[in-house]
Symmetry: C2
Subunit: 371 residues, 2 copies
């Protein structure tokens, strides 16, 4: 079985192909695109250790002239120095404009490979092979690429679309459990912002916190529905002019919490989970959505084994001050995504600081977290 | 008098506004675009010394919140380190996505500011105020931005369109005469590749090698016709898929000569001038265009005070080897732009090395140049 989601953008279109063991067909799928002969595979040592050989063999069997570049693991290497090293490998291997950079890895590998592809020779071809749940349902679709500035995450980057996204659910078997749960936060997000059926399907599952207890069918549905939701949104708004902002549901306060805890206490999906709880609380206080929907959302987040409380040592005033430094701030106004009902959110910059502070203190843990 | 050339691209459109003293109206023109309040002006110390105050005052009078960043002069600073410093200034001054980077300077300032604009926060607004003839007629129009890799020019970059290009012919008065002549090489190029009327108008002029002996009217016509030619070509092919390649007339061999002389002996326009002579020679040998047209082209290049001979110490074999490392090489084939008649060129990858070598030895100087 193979599912294909079509992403249609004004200047380009591409497929998201989802199927178990599709990694074996990476070479053939790229060959179908009729790109140049040279492929540079970018990965990190751990992922490459698991899947590098399969990917390289598939590319070589399809007739590509292949080279590989490994990025040291971790967000700390998501910077321009690492990009320069990708450029060096591209130059050493005489990549041309018709050549292709393939990202085999999670969000960090995808974001960096995409940025290198966007900027080498003013743009070479780019293919995403995400290996984490977060990258599969979020980072690999939509064309956001970039690296961190020493003083802020993802401040440097470009919108640059892949030519193909290849999702092999089987590679999730080597994903650390905490990373799996973190990815589930984004899946739940799609349920709230776009796809009420997905939300209901997730509610019906016995467990969501552990890959091995999720059926192959549910997993594939999760991947398909999430990618379809993201593709729908991105197709309508490629560069975050309007609608695309809804993808940031849970991210406004989530980012602030991540930043204030130095990205050490929580992984991204965990912060988003807490951010969704806080956004739900704000929406409920404003009378926009019901207490029962807040409860349904929060229960699902808990079922995925995700945190729902803001660490107790974070002050509301610090969180609010951090919100105002977000790169999506317009004329100093913080933009919130708030739910109206399950499956529908609105974008607003009219949430007063008092309402934010009230929600934060409601959602905050009583215990002081160990940082 | 003010001339406006409209550049229409699939996803964006913008004006090239040409008028004496239009620099005084920079602020008002940006205000008309209804962008954010913050503007970061990027320049180099020399240009800023001449025109920085006028530009800043105009922006402040229009109500913008303005900051400035100076890049040290010269191609040697056209690298990612300098881009990082622009990012730092952008961050220090809290630029938002709606903010604008204004490039006040020649090609280096424009290319770098454009790349910083393309990649800061995944893209902020960008306005070009070119101050060299080369930047006015070529670099500032078309959306090519970028920096050098330690091992190659302009290997890192992005296609990113400005929101406005403002051309004030009066600022050419402070341009060094050699730079003026170098810009004239690109003007002559437009005559050959696109606009036979421009070519004839240039032929009628008494002199082309000195700004003070060119009438204000001719100068404005040169700017208008050249920008219109570039806008026409770029509108039909934004990202160098096909037609846009004709803009590289004279650049194939020109780039190789620049590279082999370490970018020290000749400025870019001089190398392009020699490259056009060589391309004309190839075309004539292939029977594609007449000896009289070759002569008309070469005479015009000489009238602009530009060189027409390949430095004697460069070997044909080295030039040909260098051609094959060009970033526009496709599957190892060198692409040439060759004239069919004045005002029309073709794109071909079917020029044999022997034909290139023959043209090179014909066009090469007998004297050994001092490097």
């Amino acid at each position: 079985m193979q599912s294909v989601i079509k992403v249609n953008l004004p200047q380009t279109k591409y497929d998201i192909a989802i199927a178990p063991n599709i990694l074996d067909r990476l070479g053939d799928r790229i060959k179908d695109l009729k790109l140049g002969k040279k492929v540079l595979l970018v990965s990190n040592p751990e992922i490459f250790n698991y899947y590098g050989e399969t990917a390289l063999k598939s590319l070589e069997n399809a007739g590509f002239d292949v080279c590989a570049h490994l990025i040291p693991p971790g967000e700390i290497h998501k910077n321009l120095d690492s990009i320069q090293k990708i450029y060096d490998t591209a130059l050493d291997n005489h990549l041309e404009r018709s050549s292709t950079l393939v990202a085999l890895g999670g969000g960090v590998v995808g974001d960096m490979t995409g940025f290198a592809a966007a900027t080498w020779l003013r743009g070479v071809n780019f293919v995403q092979v995400p290996t984490s749940l977060l990258a599969m349902v979020d980072a690999s679709v939509g064309g956001k690429t970039g690296v961190n500035h020493p003083r802020g995450k993802n401040l440097i980057g470009a919108f640059y679309q892949p030519r193909l996204v290849l999702i092999d659910p089987n590679v999730l078997q080597t994903l650390p459990p905490r990373e799996f749960r973190a990815g589930m936060a984004e899946v739940i997000k799609y349920g709230i912002i776009w796809d009420a059926d997905l939300f209901t399907e997730l509610e019906k599952a016995d467990r969501l916190d552990d890959l091995s207890s999720i059926s192959q069918e549910l997993l594939e549905n999760i991947l398909i529905s999430s990618c379809q939701a993201k593709a729908d949104v991105v197709s309508q708004d490629e560069k975050e002019g309007g609608l695309r902002a809804i993808l940031n549901y849970g991210h406004t306060i989530g980012h602030a919490i991540e930043s204030l805890t130095n990205y050490e206490l929580l992984v991204h999906g965990e912060a988003v989970a807490i951010g969704m709880v806080a956004a739900g609380e704000i929406a409920q206080n404003l009378g926009m959505w019901s207490a029962s929907e807040t409860q349904r959302q929060d229960r699902l987040i808990q079922k995925a084994g995700l945190p729902t409380e803001i660490p107790a040592n974070l002050k509301a005033s610090d969180i609010i001050a951090t919100l105002k430094t977000d790169k999506k701030v317009k004329a100093g106004k913080v933009r919130f995504i708030l739910p109206e009902k399950i499956g529908k959110v609105i974008i607003t910059d009219r949430v007063e600081s008092e309402a934010i502070a009230a929600a934060i203190s409601k959602v905050r843990s009583e215990e002081v977290a160990a940082i």
